[in-house]
Amino acid sequence: MSRKPRKRKKRPATRRSSAPASRLTTTAQTLRKRGGVAAITGGIVLLAGLLLVAALVFSGSQPPTETTESFAPLIPAPDTGSMEGPVRRRLEQARTTVERQPDSGPAWGGYGALCDAHSLYECAEVCYTRATELDKSDFRWFYLLGFVSELRGAPADRVAAHYERAALLEPRLPTTFYRLGEVLTRAGRLDEASVAYNRAIAIDTQLTVAYRGLGQVALAQGDPDAAIVHLNRAMALGADRNPATLASLAQAQMRVGDGTAAEATAARAATATAELPIPDPVRLRINEMNLSSAESASRAARLIQAGRYEAALEQMRVVEESRPDEPVTHYRIGVCLANLGQLDEALPRLRRAAELVPDNEIVRREFERVRDLVE
């Protein structure tokens, strides 16, 4: 069979913009998001400082870096053709920033971060690589390059080197060592993984995920007794409803011959749903940079649940741009406005939502509630 001809991709047009290369969130906002993570309370003060550093760098407030002599790659141009407006525009702005400041590490890193946030990992890897060349002092480019290069199939040695470099530049962030531990675990370098997890714990003794990692490494090393000790520690630190922790514990209990306990733990694992968040301010910031309507809608739902209607409304405005006349758009905007006391504006939104999904009881009740308040 012959190869089919390949269509040549057009490079999307870019718009000149002086917008910063990355979206900003404040340290305070980030800390509020992290406030619910009971298991990492002990690390909050430490991480707050790191977040401040992170916010400063993402804001582009770092001094410009010197021009380097190293080879400059082509600026990646992901296919933005079928993307939603806000995503496309933001990517194009970030790319334009790189075009205007080709020797700026933060510009490359910011574009990489935006690509990363939208799972455009090839673009992200190129950009982060260039950012590490231009801006050798910022741990986050190395950290993010470690994360993305693993997803792109880089060998563990190379990925680990990025994390090690990040740790040299910023030794206070426990998740650098945690991520390194994960990489080394996946690579089967279990002794080194164990060391990495312990380095994370040395910085944050309450880092639940690192204890779970140690337990899983011990299990893989054929030491179920040690695995049980570590996993129980993770359980005590808040992982007692986390399916991955429970599944590993069940397996370890089985290995030591405690079938009864193993069965009971496996049964708990089967119904457990609690996530065990990794307190990773760098990746958290990346996730927040995703501008797709689906992600914004999902963030808005979480914010509404948390009673943070102003922030939720901000997210829904992004959704509205791409999905202006969907029932969920009108409904959530209506709920936010109503809870912010803007009943007159809320009412037409909820009315429209009720028209679009007349059988939805929740929408109808909220519409009637607000209508009664207005009238």
Binding site: M1, R3, K4, P5, R6, K7, K9, P78, D79, T80, S82, M83, E84, V87, A117, H118, S119, L120, E122, C123, E150, L151, R152, G153, A154, A156, V159, E182, T185, R186, A187, G188, R189, L190, R212, G213, Q216, L219, A220, G222, P243, A244, T245, A247, S248, A250, Q251, M254, R255, E263, A266, A269, A270, N290, L291, S292, S293, A294, E295, S322
Partner: protein, 547 residues
């Protein structure tokens, strides 16, 4: 493992980066002979641009000697066109669909070959996005006997495997059920571009187990067996004795759910021990997007290990069997299979000894389900280039380490397509296994194995007149004097595909070997001084019974 000669060459040549690499300019070991043999088939997905999930999932392939002439023919499922049968005439393939009755027009997914009525010829079970079909082989013409068989599988089925789980001499059927697909669901990727939905967007459906009652009749025993207690988006399934108790178990690779290890309790019921025995999750305790699955003894410790292919951003996963009921451990990283699979989405996978050196190598077919920017080296045009990826091939470097192939497997690993089905069979009857590949919106490809052989070799074909004719489920141990290898007779590895039953082994310097067969009913028989460098028929009763 390659021989000492290659290692010596490596020590003497500067720049030699691998003991596995052949000299520059050497012929590839897997040669694409698709055009040469006349195999002319394109999998038509039926895509309309709306991105319905079924159009990017299917494409099973099979080797089957449908006309009983001793050579392997080819069967290929299709979605928006009838399935196709190609007859093998001295190594040339001719489309024989029209006369065969096998041009099934369902939205084709998988194919499982097996002699369900034990009459000496190979029948076909087809999984569809929609009603599955059972075709009985009547002297090379196939008859749809689904309605009379008692098999009712109306949902979205994926892989299926024939296996005599109750050891009554008749092949039973396990069918992996995927999801209850809703056509109006639309999904977008992280960058807000339209893409195929994942399995978590839809309710999963349960698998089905059909007990063969004889006379071409089946009973759905999913409930009685305990199989229907789980709904988990099954895609791949194998049947193998995974805990060493002599009874065949089922292992199901689920897409985004915990994998099931259904241990056979010997009373017609099964219990899922995937979590407790370490085969449900990866090393991090996380479920992965299981697609294809292989059960095989990769490390030659006489126990079957498991290998499961996964989505990008996950590794493929190698579960080492610890034996003695201890279960499995995710040893993917230790054996060198992690990083190279991280960026790729694996589907079909097969284990075979490409150079007949005594251990099992690994071929994996890749192709995304989530869109990405088109690869510059894609062999398919947009929009399919969003999903095209190169395949993978690994040499077994001694059981505890795999090494990614380069030049040797070039035609196979350089094909940047959307590969799904993968099956093994020796279509040219030269003693080694060739590779049949199915690609979405692309051609089915046949790769001829031209690898230089490392020592003597042996092909074993088993026959069990007292049980299922092809001895599906028989466990063979080959003792060369220096080493032992364990193989199971099966057609049901990989993804939605079906291979041949013959066992192809490299036996090193041995001029003859001792073969012990554990027949599907558990009885043991020894065949002594089996001569090498040829195909040997092992018929039950012709060896020495082992008490």
């Amino acid at each position: 493992m390659r021989g000492i000669s290659a290692i010596v060459i490596c020590f003497t040549l500067a720049g030699c980066d691998s003991a596995q690499s052949p000299p520059p300019g050497a012929a590839p070991w897997l040669l694409d002979v698709t055009e040469q043999v006349g195999l002319d088939f394109i999998y038509a997905s039926g895509a309309t641009g709306i991105l319905h999930l079924p159009e990017v999932m299917g494409g099973g392939v099979a080797f089957i000697d449908y006309d009983g002439d001793g050579d392997l023919d080819i069967y290929l499922t299709n979605a928006n066109a009838p399935n196709s049968l190609f007859r093998n005439d001295d190594g040339r393939f001719t489309d024989a669909t029209a006369d065969s009755g096998l041009g099934d027009t369902g939205h084709g997914m998988g194919v499982a070959v097996g002699d369900h009525d034990n009459d000496g010829d190979s029948d076909l079970y087809l999984t569809n996005f929609g009603d599955d079909r059972l075709y009985r082989n009547d002297d090379g013409r196939f008859v749809d006997v689904t309605a009379d068989s008692g098999i009712v599988a109306p949902g979205w089925s994926a892989s299926a495997v024939w296996c005599d789980y109750d050891r009554d001499g008749l092949l039973d059927l396990y069918v992996a059920g995927y999801v209850d697909y809703q056509e109006d669901t639309r999904c977008h990727d992280s960058a807000s571009r339209p893409t195929y939905c994942g399995p978590l967007e839809f309710p999963p459906i349960s698998d089905q187990l059909f007990h063969n009652l004889g006379q071409g009749r089946f009973r759905d025993v999913s409930r009685a067996a305990g199989i229907d207690q789980v709904r988990a988006a099954g895609l791949g399934v194998v049947c193998e004795d995974l805990n060493g108790d002599g009874r065949p178990d089922f292992y199901v690779a689920n897409d985004a759910y915990a994998n099931q290890l259904w241990l056979n309790r010997g009373d017609g019921t099964f219990i899922d021990r995937g979590v407790l025995l370490g085969a449900a999750f990866n090393v991090h305790g996380q479920p992965e997007a299981g697609m294809g699955v292989v059960a095989a003894d990769f490390d030659n410790d006489l126990r079957p290990d498991l290998f499961v292919t996964h989505l990008a951003a996950e590794t493929n996963t190698y579960y080492r069997n610890l034996g003695e009921g201890s279960g499995f451990i995710d040893a993917t990283g230790q054996v060198g299979l992690a990083a190279s699979s991280m960026a790729l989405t694996g589907f079909g996978a097969v284990a075979f000894d490409i150079e007949l050196d005594g251990d099992l190598d690994l071929a994996i077919g890749n192709g995304r389900v989530k869109r990405a920017d088109p690869r510059q080296d894609s062999w398919v045009a947009e929009p399919w280039s969003w999903f095209a990826e190169p395949n993978l091939f690994y040499f077994n470097a001694g059981g505890s380490l795999f090494r990614a192939a380069a030049l040797e497997a070039a035609p196979f690993i350089e094909a940047v397509e959307i590969t799904r089905g993968l099956a093994l069979g020796d279509y040219d009857a030269d003693g080694d296994q060739d590779l049949l590949v199915g690609n979405i919106e692309g051609p089915a490809r046949l790769y001829r194995n031209d690898a230089p052989r490392e020592g003597h070799w042996l092909v074993l074909r088993l026959s069990d007149p007292q049980g299922n004719r092809e001895a599906i489920g028989a466990v063979v141990t080959v003792d060369t004097g220096n080493s032992r290898q364990r193989r199971t007779v099966t057609r049901g590895n990989s993804y939605m595909s079906s291979g041949d039953t013959a066992l192809h082994l490299g036996v090193g310097p041995a001029a003859s070997v001792e073969v012990t067969v554990e027949w599907p009913d558990g009885s043991l028989e020894k065949f002594e001084r089996v001569e090498v460098d040829g195909t040997r028929e092992l018929n039950r009763g012709n060896g020495v019974s082992v008490p």
